[in-house]
Each structure stands twice: as structure tokens, then as C-alpha cells.
Amino acid sequence: MSGPAAGVALIALTAAALPLITRDSYYLDVATTILMNLTLTMSFRLQISTGQINMAHISFMGIGAYASALLVTRAGLSFWATLWIGALVAASLAVPIGSIALRVSGPYYFLITFAFSEVVRLFFNNFFEGLFGGPSGLVGIPKPGRVLGLAFDSKLALYGLMAVMCVVVVLALVRLDYSRFGLTAGAIRQADLVAETLGVNVFRYKLTAFVLGSFVAGLAGVFFAHFRQVLHSSDFGLEPMVLLVVFTVIGGTGSVWGPAVGTILMTIASELLRELHHYEILVFGAVLILTMLFAPEGLVALPSAARRLLRRRRRQATAPAGAGLAP
């Protein structure tokens, strides 16, 4: 089995094995959150792979979530239809937003996407209160309806649904990362001008990653809405966005598996630090700084860094005594 296939199989098997170990509602809730976060961080990393840190990624999750919640509660559509419609709404909005934001790069891109993220949050919070629920939030969102004889009214069923969605998303994104698309995206991140002069339409690649990432974020948002059954604009604000960055960067953005490692470890840490309330973000901030200082390639790169260190130590140990320059 190839490396990528083995990685996807490991995630799928672990997800499938969990209900055999425990069906405790709390653990299923945490595991569902991990899978939801993993879907988000993997799609966020798709954009990072082309060199863009999109601070509005969480907003596209929010757009998918609110679109689905409203279409189900107001228009009476089925969750199974809005799952796709919500994601498509997020992707459709990503086209003009990405087209504007991607005209610039570096800190300007960061600021434009950050500004868009705040606009979206404030829009959900302050405008059309009767529709979006305002500061009190949008409540009364139903769980997914029955499909193919399956009911989704239990934690276990919702976990199963999220697990299937997550594995399909991971499979697709890993496949892309190991394809020519991933190769070209990485080239753009390293030297976009060189890639452009080699015939790569850099803007189109970046926009594709932006829109595709937003589609997946929208998909996660739709699930989030019907899983939590209540939406607040703050669910898609700066704090969850910072957490998304922390999860992805701590895991490592150089590898497609980095976000998986970061998300699993940090979501569990987040649960353990729940008692700290708002101080939790300070702890994550400190962890992010330490990672940047001591493991800039992320946790996923630590084993190979350790191997390199060991090899260097071994070489030094076996080098003949007295070798090297005299003082």
C-alpha cells in the first residue's frame, strides 16, 4: 500500500474503530469535533499549499452553515440537498472574493481576507436579525433527516456521518496533494514567478485552491449547523480562525498530514484545557510561538528532523579523532 493510501486507511480505520471502543456521548462528541476540524484544516492547508493564508476560511464554513440552516428551516429543504447547496453557496461566494483578494499577496492578502472575515461575522451578527438570529444566535436547526433508511438523531449516527464525510474529503485532498496539482501548488508556494514563467497560470491555481477549500469549508459548516443545532456569529469569528491556524501550523503545513496531526492533538488539548475558558487561546498562542521557534516545519516533521540529528551525531562519533581544522 502506498504512503498516501496507508494514511487515509489509518484515518478511516481509526474512525471506524472508535465506536467499538466507546459509545460514550462525550467521547463521540469530541471525536466528531476532531473530524470536523480535520476537514477544515485539510482544506485550509490546500490553500496554504499555494502560499496563501486565508484568514476568511472559517467565514466560508459560516456561509455554508447559515445557508443550510436557513434553507432547511425556512424553505423546508432536506439536509441532504442543503449539504451540497450550502457548500456550493460558499464556493460561489469564494469566486469573487478570491478573485479580488488574490490580486495581492503577502500581508495585503492576509489583511483583505481578515477584513472579509470580520465583515461576514458582523453581517451575521448585526444584519437581518430575524433571519440570522443576531447576537442570540440562530436556533431550532434540525438534525439531518432520514436517508436510505438511516436515522441521524443520535451522537453515534452523526459521528458516523462526519466520519464518512471526513474520509471522503481527506481522500480527495490527499489525492490532489500527491497529483500534479499538488506538485504545481507547492512550486507556486516556493517561487510563484518561476512557476508563472514555466507556463503555470498562478492566479488560476490559487483561485482553484481558494474555491475548492471554501467548498470543503462550506461542507463542514453545513454539518456543523445540523450537529450543534444552533449558530452564533462568533462560531465563525477571529478566535476559531486563530485556532484553525494553530492546528494547521503546529501540525506542519509542508506535509498534507501535518494538519491531521495538529488537529487531533490540539482538539484533544482543547478539551483538556476547557476549564481555562478564554485563557485557552493564550496557551495555544504560546504553543504556536514555541512551535515556530523550535519546530518551524511542524510536529509532523519532527521524526525526520530527529533522524537527521541522529545521523549527524553518528557521523561525528565515527569521524576519526583529530580530524578537522586546527584551532
Binding site: 480527495a172 489525492r175 490532489l176 497529483s179 500534479r180 496539482f181 506538485l183 504545481t184 507547492g186 512550486a187 516556493q190 517561487a191 514567478l193 518561476v194 512557476a195 508563472e196 514563467t197 514555466l198 507556463g199 503555470v200 497560470n201 498562478v202 482553484t208 475548492l212 509542508g254
Partner: protein
């Protein structure tokens, strides 16, 4: 300035003459504000660099520009982007046609690397290659696009005499294969030895154009180079 198909055309001039700027204008890296550039009779002045590359023009940079984290083979595969005709859906579906196309792209990349003496380092990380190999890799990436005109910015800079001889031999071979070469180079001996035509720039103005022999004896050119070495010296 006109570059004839299948020729090796040198662009020389003192420092600051605008040689690299001409390359940046031809390849769309900086926008043209006056005049026009035509390739095969088509006006290419307003095109993006990627579109210009699609027309058959590829380049290298003065400061060797590579994808330093990638292996040598991966660098060339990015260069082969246009010939591989990538697409999102075939990549996602991992179809037989997609895999076959990728297999052929790898074969072509290996053949190209072997022809440029890089076959043995195909798996090495580009950023760790010696200078000569990095220069050769930059050329390989440009050729991998399938370009009919390659624009080389100081391809011999920093090379030993032996390596320069190897590189000029490669340039001659390219011309034999009907690939047009336009190059900027400070090594006058090499320029005069390998080029069919030489254009001389000074302060952004073309002051002479002709065969190496004509350029070496051109009084205006010699004057422009006063204080520096005489062309062909």
C-alpha cells in the same frame, strides 16, 4: 531587434545597459510601456508570463531560480506542466489516462535530465545541488516546457572553463535541434564563439547588431566598452 529561428543570439552590453530588462519585457515579467514585441508575427506584449510560455518562450533567471525544496526531477516535472495537460478532475479520479500521461511526462523528464548530464542527481533536492548542476537544471526546466525559444540570463556565470565548454556545446546542440537561443552573457569569448548574431545594448539603446566578427570591430561598440574589456578580448 529580431531573433532568427534556430539561431543563437547574444545580447551584450555594459552593466546597467538593460539586458535583463529586455528579457523581463519579452517574457512578460514587467509590463511594456512603449513599443511592441512580436513572436511568430503575434503581438505578445500584453500577455501574462504563463501565456507567453504557452506560445513557446521559456527563460532562466540571472540568479538561478529553482524550486529549491523539490527534487531535480520534480523541478523538471513542473516545467513539463504544459505538456502534461493537467486537470483537477482527472487528478482526483486518478484515471488510467491521467496516470499514463504522468508516466510519459516522467520518462521525458528523465530523458531530458540525462541529456543535460543530470540523470544521476534526479532524486536530489535542487537546493543542495552544486552551482553547475543548478544552472543546468534551470535550463532543463525551461526546455521541459517544450519551448522553441529559450531565453538564458547569464548561463555561464560562475562556471569553470570546462563547465562553460560543456554548456556552450549544449547550446549548439539546441540550435541544431531548431531551438532558438537568446542569451545574455558577460563572457565575451564564449558569446563570440557560440553566437550567430550579437546585439549590443547601451543605456537601453541598441547600438549595434551583427555577426560576432562585425561586433568585435565595431567602433561604437568598442567605445561603449571603454573602461571595460574590449569585446572579444
Amino acid at each position: 531587434m529580431t531573433v532568427m529561428p534556430g539561431s543563437i543570439h547574444g545580447l551584450i552590453g555594459p552593466n546597467g545597459a538593460g539586458k535583463s530588462t529586455v528579457f523581463n519585457l519579452i517574457t512578460g515579467v514587467i509590463p511594456l510601456t512603449a513599443g511592441e514585441i512580436r513572436y511568430k508575427r503575434e503581438r505578445i506584449s500584453e500577455l501574462r508570463p504563463s501565456e507567453i510560455c504557452r506560445r513557446g518562450i521559456a527563460r532562466t533567471f540571472q540568479a538561478t531560480a529553482l524550486f529549491r525544496e523539490y527534487t531535480v526531477l520534480q523541478n523538471v516535472l513542473v516545467g513539463a506542466h504544459l505538456l502534461a495537460a493537467p486537470g483537477l478532475v482527472p487528478a482526483l479520479l486518478w484515471s488510467r489516462a491521467y496516470r499514463e500521461r504522468e508516466r510519459r511526462a516522467r520518462e521525458r523528464a528523465h530523458a531530458l535530465l540525462t541529456s543535460l548530464g543530470l540523470g544521476a542527481v534526479a532524486g536530489q533536492v535542487a537546493g543542495q545541488l552544486p552551482h553547475r548542476d543548478q544552472k543546468a537544471l534551470a535550463l532543463a526546466m525551461a526546455l521541459a516546457t517544450g519551448a522553441e525559444l529559450v531565453i538564458l540570463d547569464e548561463p555561464l556565470a560562475g562556471l569553470t572553463d570546462h563547465e562553460k565548454a560543456e554548456t556552450t556545446a549544449v547550446l549548439r546542440r539546441l540550435a541544431e535541434q531548431s531551438v532558438t537561443v537568446l542569451l545574455v552573457e558577460h563572457d565575451m569569448k564564449a558569446v563570440m564563439g557560440v553566437c550567430d548574431t550579437v546585439t549590443v545594448l547601451d543605456h537601453g539603446v541598441r547600438i549595434a547588431e551583427g555577426t560576432p566578427r562585425e561586433i568585435q570591430t565595431n567602433a561604437v561598440v568598442i567605445e561603449a566598452y571603454l573602461g571595460a574589456e574590449e569585446p572579444g578580448a
